[in-house]
Amino acid sequence: MTDIHKTIEAVWKIESTRLIAAIARVTRDIGIAEELAQDALVTALEVWPEEGIPNNPAAWLMTAAKRRALDSLRRARMLVQKHEEVARELDHQQQQLADALEHAWDQVIADDVLRLIFIACHPVLAVEGRIALTLRLICGLTTAEIARAFLVPEKTLGQRISRAKKTLLEARVPFETPCGDELRRRVESVLSVVYLIFNEGYTATSGEEWMRGALCHEALRLGRILAQLLPGESEVQALLALMELNASRTAARRGHNGEAVLLPDQDRTLWDGAQIQQGMSALDQAHRLGGGAGNYALQAAIVACHMRARTAEETDWERIVLLYDALMQTTPSPIVALNRAVAVGMAQGPAAGLDAVDAIATLGADSVLAGYHLLHSVRGDLLTKMGRFSEAREEIHRAITMTQNLREQELLTERLEQIEKATWGL
């Protein structure tokens, strides 16, 4: 019994996007399209365990959705029976809808899926709404799964999704692929949603392990789908490269006891060579498309520098500094500046690194970073390397009080112990 439900779930996951896209092609409203598709799933859950999985599950689901659509029109017809004219109009609509849905499945094209992605990530929606809709409509995750991944109650997430649908309806968002400047802006929005999903899975420190893996997987899949649908967009390729390269280190990021292992300490033989190659070729493709200076392309290029080094010592820090310089031109932020300072410290020595950190303060960005524990842990590290142990200790202490994350506190405490040892010349 459970097996058939798992099968239905798997069938749903691979068919739901095209199903919703096909219905939306006719209804032009993704809220209605999704409800009809969900109704079809409910019917399948009732019928399939009894009658077995049909030979063509996708066509079966489409027919079930069509029946539900006609049912609701028929109900409307009953209500207006007295008004002959309205009733005749509804009859006409019913016939048209039936015909349109009949053909929609055969006609559904990749562009329909792309339109669906653009709508799910529409800028009129709050960012959390975009993420929820994307996971629901494009990745076929259930509300319960999405809620679990983001550690929010299922009810909250359900409300988030219905609010998003309502917003789309009110804003009369058309079911079409944007073009021109609008396309660029909308692609940016889609990519940021995909990257947020990936990072939620990749860097979150709480939540269920397997669900986080699932988020990375879904983000990567979205990235690959987008790379197929928008082959000419360099930043799409670049984001895919960034995600593939980061994901390739997954096996090396945890120690035997589940503890985090930082990049310099990772066993590089555990990195997934095949995935690194996929990432590198996506990055090459981004460059070929002339997008080497894009935000994701620069980030991917930095990760690529790390991935090319066979040992941590072989890392090309000079090049990484240059890439951070470029990133500071396109998307300056205190975090980028801090990462750049770390790279400067590795490339030109701790004194230069410390100057770079302190220069961030003069940019007026220090207020943003004031409560940010990494600023202090970076300063602490650089001061340690320069032999200024008592100042280093102060910085690390400050960093410990600023982070809530237990694992980070452990790592910082270890750092303190190393400073003590260094102080005593051990």
Binding site: E9, A10, K13, I14, T17, H217, L220, R221, T269, G273
Partner: protein, 119 residues
């Protein structure tokens, strides 16, 4: 992300020139769908087999035909990247519908190659 071998079997006397167009179109459509869904890593059809077996004297004997004496042989395969076996099976189900043949699914296990081995 786990990868799966989804292999399609054909009868031994299968003649590719006799394959009907509808089947070809269905397989083509399925391939496009797999690519669009971001799951397809690789796909191919296979030519006829030659088998090699070691003789007791150490020499190798080459014969025409597949190694195992069966009524069916592998006609082609997909390598798919899926969340789990259930999803791979759902795709294989579509493979059965498209090829109108038998399909076998197996997970592919990876052992990361040690750096020395790749040099």
């Amino acid at each position: 992300m786990p990868q799966y071998l989804v292999a399609g079997y054909l009868p031994d006397d299968f003649d590719p020139s006799q394959a009907d167009e509808a089947t070809g179109r269905a397989i083509h459509a399925l391939n496009k769908e797999m690519i669009a869904a971001g799951v397809r890593k690789f796909a191919c059809g296979l030519g006829s087999a030659k088998s090699l077996r070691a003789q007791t004297d150490g020499r190798v004997l080459i014969t025409d035909g597949p190694y195992l004496e069966t009524k069916e042989h592998i006609g082609g395969f997909w390598i798919l990247e899926c969340a789990d076996m259930d999803e791979a099976l759902a795709w294989a189900r579509k493979g059965v519908a498209a090829t109108r043949g038998q399909v076998e699914v197996r997970e592919i296990f990876f052992q990361p190659a040690p750096q020395e081995a790749t040099k």
